[in-house]
């Protein structure tokens, strides 16, 4: 039984790490010959991937999966709230900058 839990944790870690490595791939494809360019797609994907990782950490590492519904919903709401704030700041800021 404990091996079942251990395996699950390892799989979770592998998923999180591969998502992290996905950033390296994004970086390579987004930057041409070493110069960085502004890109909404990269920004939004980076933020969304980070939020997915945060949710996975909440549910698996922090054991929210086994928590009462209130905590599940609260942490999900938090992920959404953080997403809205981050993406909102980015888009509103971009609009203001013109």
């Amino acid at each position: 039984m404990s091996t079942k839990f251990n395996k699950r944790l390892l799989v979770v870690w592998l998923i999180l790490t591969s998502m992290t490595l996905a950033y390296v791939w994004m970086d390579h494809t987004a930057d041409h010959n070493g110069t960085l360019r502004a890109s909404t797609v990269v920004t939004v994907s980076a933020i969304v991937i980070a939020l997915i990782k945060v949710r996975i950490i909440f549910r698996e590492f922090m054991e929210v999966r086994h928590a009462p519904a209130l905590l599940c919903r609260l942490t999900d709401a938090w992920v959404v709230l953080i997403g809205v704030c981050l993406l909102g700041s980015y888009f509103v800021g971009s609009a203001v900058a013109g």
Binding site: S2, Y23, V42, V54, F61, P68, Y90, G93, A97
Partner: protein, 200 residues
């Protein structure tokens, strides 16, 4: 909603429906949620000021090494994995295994800390300091305040070790509470890494 006494001390049977429990003190969860909101505030300020000055931020970002950020993230993800294993081991009464995992968590945390300090030194040698420009203001601020949380995390992990060491203590709730804090340090870094190193 919450169990009053020992949470999750009984190992679950495979065929039994898993009992719902709040991991650790609900108080720590309140802290986690509040602190993440606070950091979101800081991130929002960063993103807004970034959009007002994109070229400066892009230019400064070239000085950051993505691989460093990836290394840091993986180190913290490993530490989170270790403390999660520690909590489960402790729940099953395998205290020796739990202690080993707790020490592993501390080690990975130290790897992160050392790597971060090296990165700061490298940046300073390149001429990028806290007062250099707006991007580096945010870079040093976010990484420093995160580091302060990490250092507090070492104290918290110390409490985990202290609890697990002697059979006279071993409060499962306290171990879970401390683990919750450590995971927060991890997920905050996940966000910081995406915003400072990857976002264009």
């Amino acid at each position: 909603m919450t169990n009053l006494a020992d949470t999750g001390s009984r190992p679950q049977q495979l065929d039994e429906k898993p009992r719902k429990f709040v991991p650790g003190q609900p108080d720590m969860w309140m802290f986690v949620l509040f602190e993440s909101l606070l950091f979101t505030g800081y991130f929002s300020v960063y993103l807004v000021s970034r959009t007002q000055n994109e070229s400066l931020y892009l230019q400064s970002q070239t000085d950051l090494d993505l691989r460093n950020g990836v290394f840091n993230t993986i180190a913290l993800l490993l530490s989170s994995w270790a403390i999660a294993r520690c909590v489960q081991a402790s729940r099953e009464g395998a205290y020796r295994s739990a202690l080993i995992n707790a020490f592993m968590t501390i080690s990975f945390g130290l790897v992160f800390l050392v790597s971060k300090v090296f990165e700061w030194v490298k940046q300073i040698h390149m001429g990028n300091t806290f007062t250099s420009n707006e991007f580096f203001q945010h870079y040093f601020f976010l990484t420093s305040i995160h580091c302060i949380h990490l250092l507090i995390g070492f104290i918290v992990l110390g409490i985990v070790v202290y609890q697990l060491w002697s059979p006279a203590r071993r409060s499962q709730q306290l171990v879970e509470t401390c683990a919750t804090y450590w995971h927060t340090v991890d997920f905050l870094w996940v966000l910081i890494f995406a915003l400072l190193y990857v976002v264009r």
